[in-house]
Subunit: 485 residues, 2 copies
């Protein structure tokens, strides 16, 4: 099924790309174009509108349709996202320091002309089982189109829940279907978890450094984040945590990533996980465990989450397919322990249900048994990258740069020499077409201003090496200018 | 691509349905079944797991796999949702009166063995353009599988935004891409709108009777709902609204459905819409306009929402494809006027982004120009139903039953003789396989305890007529028992 306006649009797009119509040139009137192609005027109007949506053409009021500056835009679906908002929004670098604007500015960053987006939240698209998932999706749509007409209800597709229960059981988390709720990504899972255990004015403990989206979420819920430092390679400092719990009465929860913390990439030892659970039980507060990177261990063994030892329901477990299986699906899951009923009510009243199509596709993928081999391949790719990237950083970055090598996931957390402001570095880097996430985003204080987070979940190639080289040179350049040289 | 375990599962399902294995019968051991079909043991395990997820078979620990009571379950994808939770959850009728449990209990209702679900939130699946949407989806997956591997960012797919902007402009709402945000259904749109304008402890005005999901949402956000009565056929009483605004200082917003109120189905006149806007401007509060039924007018003309006259950004406009285009997609949109930046930040920090696949499918459907003829057909079907349903209600329900005939949408709001408790009626009806929504859900008070809402968005047939007849008889039966006869 190809609509006639789409055929016409494909034809016109081809002509524009071939240079038959130049950027800025006026296109034929609707009437003329319709006549020339023996189609109706409304087909031409739809064709023009469609290309307008793609950013290929642009309407000027009362004067007709013109060829847009389409070359500035890459027209893959990924880039269509920004195509309609005629110009990419400018990055306001100073706003990267404010919670309220961090995410928006990070998105603005993505809209810039970049060739190396080391700030992105997932691995390279070709590292995911896209073809297998797409084929399952096509089959489902072919065989059960009517499902589109059914208003979904419930807490998640049972076939997905049963697949997830088998997966979770493989690393020690034993759940029943009624313990599990499917959410719009782990972000929604974290949001309803926080709302279930804390009210405006309450405090929650987070790791430091910490994923900026969590800080923004906490702020937007009217909560206060207490940042407890991590020990590099070991996760949250249990001594600092105990101190914080002793000295703050209103703490309702700890939010932590015991497996492959974002941005540090470290995992807590099993002993420390058990100590963390004991603390949580002792203070009778919730542990909101974000395990989205748990499947991405660099070792063959998948580490257990704290939830595996949770006997009294203190742990709210949050997972997702966004990092390890299908970034675009926006599917997460939550097992809320003793807080589950409240969590389910909040999810329901916030967004009712999660779309079923992606759930059905993921369920079939998991039931097919394809996950372990996919994860093995993903792990091998990540593991192969680490020494190459580390060697390049050592080679190209100035002396005094410290690297935290991850034990899982794809984040590389770099500490630059202390006077180097990574926000200033980002400005320079974006003008070279390279983006990363500046350290200032990982705390409400400025203490990580000279840190940076790189996504190294992409094939090692000349482009990545060149990017690291340019970043290292820019750091050196900033150091020289700081030294007044 | 059909996995071998799926072929085996299809085969075994066929055998079970043919009666070769009876309900409760033990299935062959994994080893025996693998041998008999010349497949690996792991294929049989996957096959059994898959059928377990579908509720066809059930594992008994240490004793093997047994045929489940699959006949009690309809195995369409719709019903798979409950299949995994071995028994449908019992409806706790009294909980339908409490905000916190209403939605859950309504879902529990859906899980009962029903043949006439007049409580459902959408029209009959065959009334939606499922085939056209499924074909677009298949094509997108075929041509752009890699999109599954891309982590989405941004406020909505630009091609969808441009299509929606054209659609909204057709009834007087003029927006730019940056004014519009795509959400996980209109429920999320309403939730972030409320969070943007009000804080825990604030009051918001709602219509009475009102959609129960809104009452639950307001309660969960710590807000207070002031219920302002509607005038049948005209929408919210502006006199009562003015009185409420004069007497309550802390009101931050009005949430209203000026086009086809749920459950009344009435539209406000243009004059009253303008008066409502004036009031909102005078008190400098937000109007959260829920226009999800706006496209479902029973007249050819689509009425304008209040947003069409909003010059100062007081109106937060919420729409969705769930009622009029594709119930399963869970796509909504919001144009937040002067509150838009705050709304966008809250959406981002609650659930980041909305899945792009459904957005791309809907965008292409809208760009193809197929919407107007789909809506015309849907309208014709709804309009054809009304006199038939009204005649049946008049024929089968006891005298003293009042019917509010809708001007749009598919709700029929019935007022029963005053002593008839529609919750008691629901208990009886469910035992006959019929469900509807009891009036008590539409207010925090009990004033609609003798009302009921019916979904009549389904083909007129003997089943629907019989259902209305049975409901009428049950009402009569309740009246007799009340009269002590």
């Amino acid at each position: 099924m190809q609509h006639s306006y789409r055929q016409l649009a494909d034809h016109l797009m081809h002509e524009i790309k071939a240079g038959n119509y130049q950027v800025g040139e006026r296109l034929p009137s609707v009437r003329a174009y319709a006549g020339a192609h023996e189609v109706s005027a409304s087909t031409v109007i739809r064709c023009y509108r469609y290309l307008e949506g793609l950013g290929m053409v642009t309407a000027r009021s009362k004067s007709g349709m013109y060829v847009a500056d389409w070359k500035a835009q890459n027209l893959s679906r990924k880039d269509q996202r920004q195509a309609n908002e005629s110009k990419p929004p400018a990055v306001e670098y100073d706003k990267l320091m404010s919670h309220q604007h961090r995410m928006m500015q990070l998105y603005a960053l993505t809209a810039q002309p970049l060739h190396l987006g080391l700030h992105l939240a997932s691995a390279a698209p070709q590292w995911y089982p896209c073809e297998a998932l797409a084929k399952i999706g096509q089959r489902l749509l072919r065989h059960d189109a009517q499902a589109i007409g059914v208003y979904p209800t419930g807490t998640g597709l049972p076939v997905l829940k049963s697949a997830l229960i088998h997966h979770l059981a493989s690393f020690g988390v034993d759940l029943q279907a009624q313990d599990l709720l499917i959410t719009n990504g782990s972000t929604e899972a974290l949001s309803v978890a926080l709302r279930a255990v804390a009210q405006a004015g309450d405090a929650v403990i987070v790791e430091s450094p910490v994923y900026f989206g969590l800080l923004q979420m906490i702020e937007n819920l009217g909560l206060k984040a207490l940042e407890v430092p991590c020990v590099a390679g070991a996760g949250i400092s249990l001594e600092a945590l105990e101190y914080a719990l002793e000295h703050h009465a209103g703490v309702k929860a700890i939010v932590a990533m015991p497996n492959f913390q974002n941005p540090l990439g470290c995992a807590m030892s099993e002993k420390n996980k058990r100590r963390l659970l004991k603390l949580v039980e002792h203070y009778d507060i919730a542990l909101i465990e974000d395990d989205v990177f748990g499947d991405l261990s660099h070792e063959a063994e998948r580490p257990q989450p704290v939830k595996a030892w949770d006997r009294h329901g203190h742990v709210i477990y949050c997972g997702s397919c966004s990092k390890s299986m299908a970034p675009a699906f926006r599917l997460g899951w939550i097992a809320g322990g003793r807080y589950h009923a409240r969590i389910a009510a909040l999810k329901l009243s916030h967004s009712l249900v999660t779309p079923l199509f992606e759930q059905a596709v993921l369920a079939e993928f998991l039931h097919s048994g394809a996950l372990p081999s996919h994860l093995r391949k993903l792990r091998e790719r990540l593991v192969a990258n680490i020494p190459l990237v580390l060697a390049a950083v050592r080679r190209y970055f100035p002396a005094g740069t410290l690297v935290i090598s991850p034990a899982g996931g794809w984040w590389l957390w770099l500490e630059l020499p202390e006077k180097v402001d990574s926000l200033a570095l980002l400005r320079l880097a974006v003008s070279e077409g390279i983006a990363f996430t500046p350290g200032v985003m990982f705390s409400n204080s400025a203490k990580y201003a000279h840190f940076m987070r790189l996504n190294i979940g992409r094939p090692w190639d000349r482009e990545l090496e060149q990017g690291i080289k340019i970043l290292g040179q820019l750091v050196a350049q900033l150091m020289y200018s700081l030294a007044g040289l």
